[in-house]
């Protein structure tokens, strides 16, 4: 091999090596795109729900209440017969079986929806109104195109007759898509069309709030101590080793800790945001302390010395000068820690947040779910409708994380002083 050939070979190797590096970055970036695209394409349809426009006639004989009935009387009245009477008129069904199949196209909440409409407008007895009633999950998925209709009947969840009704609805423009208010307002449900993340949102909010209230002050105080006051001795070293190790402990171990200490020993209520918040706080604490200490460390000693020189005590120099200067970094570290806590699932599963909770929690000691746990729960469900619900929940979760990280970056760039 001549010298020139060798050199060419070496240059080719150089190019190859460079190409490997570029490809790796490209592969990693590609994966971000694929993941986000996949979630968005699956989830965006969940923000709309399919409704069937139906005419509802309020027959006084069936309702057994008078015009001008009080709120309580209406609440107690039975709207079931009204619902059946009106829904079977949506399509000319021939017999009972066909009527049953027709009724199955509406959601399980049709009765409540009719009642709500009645409550909103007074004196509807003897009158007819047009209502958009939520369709059942199967029709919803069919209408959104997530469900193939060219399968043989026995492999479909929708019968041939229901397809005929669906086509009739489409032809008469009786079926349409509305904003899915249930997805944001409702708690969990066995019916995908009624299931929502309302409960999970509130549960996550309480958990993160408790986590913030516990972890932030303790983390800031601990990092101030370690960075500014701690003498260099064995105890300080031991605390530092502990913090570094805790930051790397798998999150599921914190779940075991919470199970044994918070639930079994102290007997706090299971499945509640209170326990979730405490667990997440313990887990987030070391992850906040590390950036807090870094931002305290970044404040140059001249600031401290200046304060001390004019007669401030050590405490005053730290709390009046160093801490305010380190605050942007501290806050952004805290927000990033909270963002991690918001997405954490495993410890919450162990403390029982996987329980099926329909009601939206009204306080941190009510059983509840949380956003990531809801993703886990729904992803285990077999119904087709839950796939889009899960993806949409992930979209919500990711957008919260993006907002939090954005705030953190903004805080840091806008307020953090650069020391040269």
């Amino acid at each position: 091999m001549t010298k020139e050939e060798r050199l060419k070979k070496r240059h080719r190797a150089e190019k190859r090596f460079r190409f490997y590096g570029l490809t790796s970055i490209f592969v990693a970036l590609l994966f971000v795109v694929i993941l986000v695209q996949n979630i968005f394409s699956k989830g965006s349809s969940a923000f709309k729900k399919t409704v069937i426009t139906t005419e509802v006639f309020f027959d006084q004989e069936l309702l057994e209440i008078q015009n001008g009935a009080s709120q309580e009387e209406i609440m107690e009245a039975d709207f079931y017969d009204i619902m059946i009477e009106n829904l079977i008129k949506a399509y000319p069904a021939k017999d009972r079986d066909e009527e049953d199949e027709l009724l199955k196209l509406f959601s399980g909440d049709a009765e409540i929806e009719i009642k709500k409409a009645f409550l909103n407008e007074n004196n509807l007895i003897g009158k007819t109104i047009t209502l958009d009633l939520t369709a059942s999950d199967d029709i919803d998925q069919l209408h959104k195109g997530n469900y193939p209709r060219d399968l043989p009947e026995e492999r479909r969840r929708i019968s041939d007759f229901q397809l005929v009704i669906y086509d009739y609805f489409v032809e008469n423009k009786k079926i349409s898509k509305n904003f899915n208010n249930y997805f944001f307002n409702n708690g969990d449900s066995r019916d995908p069309e009624l299931a929502g993340i309302g409960g999970a949102l509130v549960g996550s909010f309480y958990s993160i709030l408790i986590c913030l209230l516990l972890a932030f002050p303790v983390a800031v105080l601990a990092s101030i101590y370690l960075e500014e006051f701690a003498p260099k001795n064995k105890i300080t070293d031991f605390i530092e080793i502990n913090i570094n190790n805790l930051a790397a402990v798998p999150s599921i171990v914190y779940g075991l800790l919470a199970l044994q200490i918070l639930l079994a020993t102290i007997q706090l209520p299971r499945s509640t945001p209170l326990v979730a918040g405490i667990t997440l706080a313990l887990m987030t604490l070391p992850r906040i302390i590390i950036p807090c200490r870094a931002s305290l460390k970044a404040v140059p000693p001249s600031i401290r010395e200046g304060a001390l020189a004019v007669g401030a005590s050590k405490f005053q120099s730290v709390f009046h000068h160093v801490v305010p200067l380190a605050l942007p970094g501290t806050l952004s570290g805290t927000i990033i820690g909270l963002a991690q806590a918001l997405g954490e699932t495993a410890p919450l599963i162990l403390i029982g947040m996987v329980a099926f909770v329909v009601d939206i929690p009204s306080s941190p000691v009510d059983p509840s779910s949380s956003l990531p746990v809801q993703v886990y729960l729904w992803s285990e469900s077999a119904e087709r409708g839950f796939v889009e619900k899960t993806s949409a929940t992930i979209m919500m979760l990711l957008s919260f994380l993006i907002v939090m990280n954005f705030i953190a970056v903004y805080l840091r760039q806008k307020f953090e002083k650069r020391w040269n």
Partner: protein
């Protein structure tokens, strides 16, 4: 009750602040003495003395009250003739008594329960009353003490700072307390577990089937049941599955992460670096449950489909899918750390290599990487410890049954999956099955601890070398 108490303590503290401030002012004017600190520090001093002892006491009391009441009530119920064979039944009876007291119990109430409920009401009353009395006692005592100090014109600022410094120190001790809490909660149940199952049966057993451990009471076990239990908890399949999935993950993460790190540190322009680095780090910020969902619903079925087309049987919960997605999650851990590590290799080493005519890639391969090797190994070890502790991806995308296999297309299970499977839903405490989850947790904790220790040592040593 606690909220009322906290509210009262707050009101007392706030009013004491103003009292202390004005009091010291009047003292200094009346007696014409120079105060040893600004008046507000006397206020702070009173506030700290009024609130901290009372709040600490309240916290400790609230932690122990339910436990103590419970043991007393269960004992009285037993004395009155309530029969329960184990802890679960005792808990059930206690819950019933509590519900009767609150008026939310609608089952049959026999005389034992009624008596116990009355006793419960009595104890609750007694405890609440004594709590209030004690708290007020503490407040009065500490306020009297601190007022006396103030009247003597103490150095209030120094004293306040000493107390606050103590508070700071206590905050930093929480890290130690958490570690202790983890160790104790894991050890406590693990010791119970290992008193039934031999440590060696656990560590070297090749069969994991905890559902066989139906025995509820560990103390009364027959020989046959013991034999059954003995081979139900073999750790080998779990560690094999965990390492296997982690290995697949590292096969993905190490090359991609390392090459991205090298590219970003050595080749990329500042602009490319500034854009691509945060985007890659997004991968670390995405919650793992999202990866799990993606692996279980998209990647798993996709591999299965591809396998079918190629005539292979691929489990829809294959180790390959879980490992691949986990690897992608770990890429940024490897890339960011190795990027940092490579950046801290001194430029003089590179310059020396260029000077003797090496190309850039030769310099990287033969000079930079060997120099940065300890740091790179450290970052890979940290990534491995992330991989074995990762839970949601494997819970959602890997299998549940423990089978020893090295076929990536079959399903395997991991330590974390088993912990979740055992503990999700209702558990019976004191059954070897539940306890085994804590033993697994302990094993996981120790394994990650060792990995992290070695990794941190490696990185630190490397940093010292070039500092």
């Amino acid at each position: 009750m606690n909220i009322v108490l906290i509210f009262l303590i707050t009101i007392f503290s706030v009013s004491l602040f103003f009292y202390g401030k004005s009091k010291t002012k009047t003292i200094s004017i009346k007696d014409n003495i120079k105060l040893n600190a600004l008046p507000k520090f006397y206020g702070y001093y009173l506030v700290l003395w009024c609130s901290i002892p009372a709040l600490v006491f309240l916290l400790v009391w609230s932690l122990f009250e339910p436990v103590i009441i419970k043991s007393i009530i269960i004992e009285t119920a037993a004395n009155q003739g309530a029969i329960f064979s184990d802890k679960n039944e005792a808990n059930l009876i206690y819950e019933k008594i509590k519900a009767i007291h609150l008026g939310t119990y609608f089952g049959d109430i026999d005389s034992i329960l009624r008596e116990s409920a009355l006793a419960y009401a009595k104890f609750i009353n007694l405890f609440t009353n004594s709590k209030v009395v004690l708290i007020f006692g503490i407040i009065i005592a500490s306020v009297i003490y601190s007022l006396k100090k103030i009247k003597n014109n103490n150095k209030a600022r120094d004293d306040v700072e000493i107390i606050l410094k103590g508070l700071l120190f206590v905050s930093s001790l929480i890290a130690i307390l958490t570690t202790l809490g983890i160790i104790f909660s894991l050890l406590f149940e693990s010791i119970k577990f290992f008193s039934v199952i031999n440590v060696f049966d656990y560590l070297f057993g090749t069969n994991w089937s905890p559902q066989r451990a139906f025995v509820r009471d560990a103390s009364s076990i027959t020989a046959a049941e013991f034999e059954e239990l003995k081979d139900a908890f073999g750790f080998i399949p779990l560690i094999a599955g965990t390492s296997f999935i982690a290995f697949i993950a590292m096969l993905v993460a190490v090359p991609i992460g390392l090459f991205s790190g090298i590219y970003m540190a050595e080749y990329a322009s500042i602009k490319v670096r500034r854009i691509s680095k945060p985007i890659i780090e997004i991968l670390a910020g995405i919650p793992t449950v999202v990866y799990g969902f993606f692996a279980a619903l998209t990647v798993g079925p996709f591999f299965r489909q591809v396998g079918e087309n190629l005539g292979l049987t691929v489990s829809s919960e294959s180790a390959l899918a879980a490992g691949l997605i986990m690897g992608i999650m770990i890429i940024p851990y490897v890339s960011s750390l190795s990027d940092d590590v490579i950046n801290s290799v001194p430029q003089s080493l590179r310059d020396g290599s260029y000077a003797v005519g090496a190309t850039k890639s030769e310099t990287i391969k033969q000079v930079v990487i060997p120099a940065a090797l300890p740091g790179i190994i450290g970052s890979v070890l940290l990534a491995v410890s992330r991989a074995i502790g990762e839970t949601m991806i494997v819970v959602m995308a890997a299998g549940l049954a423990a089978n020893l296999t090295i076929n990536p297309l079959e399903s395997t299970t991991t330590i974390t999956t088993q912990i979740v499977m055992i503990l999700v839903g209702d558990q019976e405490f004191d059954s070897p099955k539940t306890q085994s989850a804590f033993a697994l947790g302990l094993t996981l904790f120790i394994a990650t601890l060792i990995l992290n220790y070695i990794a941190q040592r490696a990185v630190k040593k490397y940093r010292e070398k070039y500092d």
